[in-house]
């Protein structure tokens, strides 16, 4: 009888106290969401129009207006798409963390979170790096290819693009930390609750409150489990 009570206390404990790591992860995800969303919005609204006088016919000057938009460069389009997808991913992960604690698929919840995090890190790193090198090309030009720099003509466009890049890189670093934390969560030894769930004898998400007296000391014997709460 005493053994049974001890087991009940031991098993119930870990489900009552949420680990402090969960809040850290949630805060990091929130920050990463803001960073990637900011990068998407700033680059998505990046546009600058310049009107120059091209010729003068008589007394009326003919103006031509040139626009610099982010859509002109495929690298920036990829940047916007990648950061947009990353923001959506972060938002979904925050919602799943807050409201969907019981959602699981064959015990693969942590693995799916870790893999999705890694995929998003890869996507954002690709987008950020392509945009960074295109921005460097726009700023410095390339004398060998006879490409002139455009940043002296479109200063605001370049400034906004630089700001979006910085936000994206900050988001990338945050997401790398988040991804490492997700993988660590996947790799740490499961606690008694999770161990029991992973044997498949208890459906996941159920707080096994008390056990039958056939429960062995290590909890993995061929016992018949009954949820008695």
């Amino acid at each position: 009888m005493a053994l049974q009570n001890e087991d009940k206390l031991e098993v119930g404990y870990s489900s009552l106290h949420p680990k402090p790591k969960k809040w850290v992860l949630l805060m990091l995800r929130l920050l990463a969401f803001f960073a990637t969303a900011a990068a998407t919005v700033v680059m998505g609204l990046n546009k600058e129009t310049k009107t120059l006088v091209v010729a003068t016919v008589g007394t009326t000057p003919i103006k031509a207006s040139l626009t610099a938009k982010f859509q002109h460069t495929p690298a920036f389009v990829f940047f916007v798409i990648a950061n947009g997808l990353a923001s959506i991913h972060n938002l979904v992960m925050i919602m799943a963390d807050l409201f969907g604690q019981k959602l699981d698929y064959k015990g693969l919840r942590l693995a799916m979170i870790a893999i999705l995090d890694m995929m998003t890190v890869a996507l954002v790193s690709g987008g950020a790096s392509a945009a960074a090198f295109m921005a460097e090309l726009g700023k410095n030009g390339n004398s060998h290819a006879r490409w002139n720099s455009i940043c002296d003509k479109y200063k605001t466009f370049c400034d906004h693009g630089g700001g979006a890049l910085i936000a994206s890189f900050a988001g990338l670093i945050l997401m790398l930390i988040i991804s490492v934390m997700s993988i660590i969560k996947l790799l740490i030894k499961p606690k008694p609750d999770d161990e029991l769930e992973s044997t498949g004898l208890i459906p996941s998400g159920v707080n096994a409150c008390r056990f039958n007296s056939e429960l062995g000391k290590n909890g993995k014997s061929h016992a018949r489990w009954k949820k008695i709460c």
């Binding site: 002109h72 690709g126 790096s129 295109m134 290819a145 490492v180």
Partner: protein, 163 residues
């Protein structure tokens, strides 16, 4: 005597090593001289920071991949190898993405910025750069498969045997 898991992992690493080495060599040896309306020019990979980054990143991964082949099977270092794999995957993805972005401008130009495509004049250089990028793509795809496989084999002993 070699376990099939280790064999598959080893095979993937050798493919990655070969692909990154090929990418480095092909990109580094791509240069072409020519004249264009009495202007002589020379196109080298070091003209563009993106291609330099590509060569350096792939060189780092080649050296790392070569060293990893010598780690004994049951050493404690495999956890570190897994972490480094994640970081190097990110590095490879950034390098190929940057090189692809600049190569696309070289091939198609950018009319709004007034940049003319250069591939018409330096065809051999362009072809070699494309070849290096293809090798880089093969490297990154194999690397992602390797990374997922390493995480899977690392996890299996820890998740318990629940069928």
């Amino acid at each position: 005597m070699v376990k099939p898991k280790r064999l598959l992992s080893l095979l993937l690493r050798i493919i990655v090593l070969g692909a990154t080495l090929a990418a480095v060599i092909i990109m580094a040896t791509s240069h072409e001289k020519g004249t264009f309306f009495a202007l002589s020019y020379e196109a080298k990979y070091s003209d563009t920071p993106a291609f330099k980054f590509f060569v350096i990143a792939n060189a780092i991964v080649t050296v790392y991949g070569f060293l990893v082949l010598f780690i004994p099977s049951e050493s404690q270092l495999w956890g570190l190898v897994l972490a480094l794999d994640l970081v190097l995957t990110m590095l490879l993805i950034s390098s190929i993405s940057a090189a692809l972005a600049v190569a696309q401008v070289g091939k198609k130009g950018n009319s709004s910025a007034g940049w003319l495509p250069v591939c018409g004049q330096v065809t051999k250089y362009c072809n070699q750069v494309s070849g290096a990028l293809v090798a880089g793509f093969i490297a990154i795809i194999t690397y992602i498969i390797l990374l997922l496989y390493s995480i899977y084999t690392f996890l299996n002993p820890l998740l318990g045997k629940n069928g």
